[in-house]
């Protein structure tokens, strides 16, 4: 066989050059739009960096003032609370949906599509949809007399409904890929051994689904810690700043207080925490995969 890749050095060198040429656009995008901002965000966090006008070094003031910002501290607690609640509910609903539509039957495609369809709608559009849907003068649920975004707890509850509606199908799809990777023979063998449905679920489905569940958890936790759209559009942080997420504080610092340095310092903190969290979760995920 004539393997072109093992031919003389000159050929290999020209192949390497061509490879670099094809990879060049990737390299430029990565360098200019990913590496450079990563460096810049650290530099900015060490400066008093107003929205307009010159920057000057003020390290480490942007970091030391973080504990003095009560809105940010509240937003950390709120975002953590939101993340825990939504991750538990989203996992449960997505797993339930995935189990409901895992078998091939006539019409199952329709159900999968129906559950996923909200996921094709943009999150901002979904938030606007719920903004009208849960408005008591305009939406269909006015007769219930529930004040959907009137109190902090109801605003959070309504946002959770919105997020469940928008993301349950998306997470269902992730779990479905894991469920379908489990060989049918495993189930057949378990059934032949007399296992009931609950035993099959807890002893076979759940353990074999662990890597996929872990992936879903990573995406859900990261996404929730960075929540912005739902609270900015749907509750606008209210009532009384009770639904202000961490990213909303970053945004407010940058574009309402014109303090880009402070916003950059918060970004760096978020970045470090999330990358560390991702690394830990990846390790768990990888551990689960190799088992």
């Amino acid at each position: 066989m004539n393997d072109v890749l093992t031919r003389p050095t000159r050929f290999r060198r020209s192949r390497a050059l061509a490879g670099w040429a094809y990879a060049a656009p990737t390299a430029i995008i990565v360098a200019v739009l990913f590496i450079a901002p990563l460096v810049l965000v650290v530099v900015m966090s060490l400066h008093k960096w107003p929205l307009l006008g010159p920057a000057r070094p003020n390290a480490p003031a942007n970091y030391t003032k973080i504990p003095d910002d009560p809105l940010f501290l509240d937003s950390v607690l709120f975002t953590l609370k939101y993340t825990v609640i939504i991750t538990i509910l989203l996992s449960a609903v997505a797993l339930g949906l995935a189990l409901l539509v895992q078998d091939r039957r006539p019409g199952v495609g329709f159900f999968r599509t129906a559950f996923f369809l909200p996921g094709a709608v943009g999150f901002a559009a979904a938030a606007l949809l719920f903004y009208g849907l849960l408005n008591n003068d305009f939406g269909p649920f006015g007769f219930l007399g529930v004040n959907w975004i009137g109190s902090p707890n109801m605003a959070l509850t309504s946002t959770i409904l919105l997020v469940l509606w928008r993301f349950a199908g998306f997470n269902m799809l992730i779990l479905l890929t894991g469920l379908q990777a489990i060989p049918i023979e495993v189930y057949e063998a378990a059934r032949a051994d007399g296992a009931n449905r609950w035993q099959i679920f807890t002893r076979i489905t759940l353990p074999l689904l662990r890597p996929t569940l872990a992936l879903m958890l990573i995406l859900s936790i990261t996404g929730s810690l960075l929540a912005f759209d739902q609270f900015f559009i749907f509750t606008n942080g209210g009532p009384d700043n009770s639904t202000v997420s961490m990213v909303m504080v970053v945004y407010r610092n940058a574009f309402f207080r014109f303090d880009l340095g402070g916003a950059a310092a918060l970004s760096v903190v978020l970045l470090v925490v999330l990358v560390a969290l991702n690394a830990v979760q990846m390790r768990i995920l990888r551990g689960a995969t190799t088992k």
Partner: protein, 259 residues
Amino acid sequence: MRYYSPRLALAVIFLFPLIWSGWASVQGPEGFTLTHYRSIIGFGEGLATYVGNSLALSGLTVVGTLVVATLGGYAFARFQFPGKNLLFLTALAILMVPYATILIPLYVLLDYVGLQNSLLGLSLVFVMFQLPFALYMMRNSFEAIPREIEESALVDGAGSLKVLLTVLLPAVRPGLVTVGLFAFLASWNDFFAPLILLSDGASFPLPVAVVSMTQRTFGAIDYGVLQAGVMVMAVPCLVLFLVLQRHYVRGFMSGALRG
């Protein structure tokens, strides 16, 4: 029946908000009306401007992502060059870095290079966000093609670019559709990046423009017009998803989400 009724009930729950929104967008005090759509056409800078911005933004993002990821995927699948693994891993690391945290420096950076408040600059940012998924998909697509196919062309003296364009590109078309679909949905729907990187109302894409309707301080919010706006944003995505569902699901199956 025991199989279908609970699933059907759930399907109704999931579809209801979409159906309600469509209904509310054509519902006036005296029944069916198109006034909400008529008012949204004249809203702000005009609906045509916002749709045009969204189309330009998505178009640039889709084309940019396809070009960069096709060339990059080809390089990573078929060539050996120094720094190859480092570059690939760095590109995948974009997934690890939450994008909301680098938008503040990107705002400053785009200003430096004269791309502030520009749809082109914003689309380049979207290309970067899409890169981990797109590169992974395209590299796998190229790797799935047997090497013999291009080797015979190379032996015949064809250059690697000609081989890519004439022999390989048709073979990776499914991958291109998946990558293009993800790039379109992401750029058409994103709210946070344009909110930060664009300052001029005339260059807003649909999500930022329609949300601004709810945040005006004067005048009551017209909820019917708002749902018309939701429909304008959502219907293209729903249609595209229903038509290209297979390609979308393949994106999930590929494992590319794992990074």
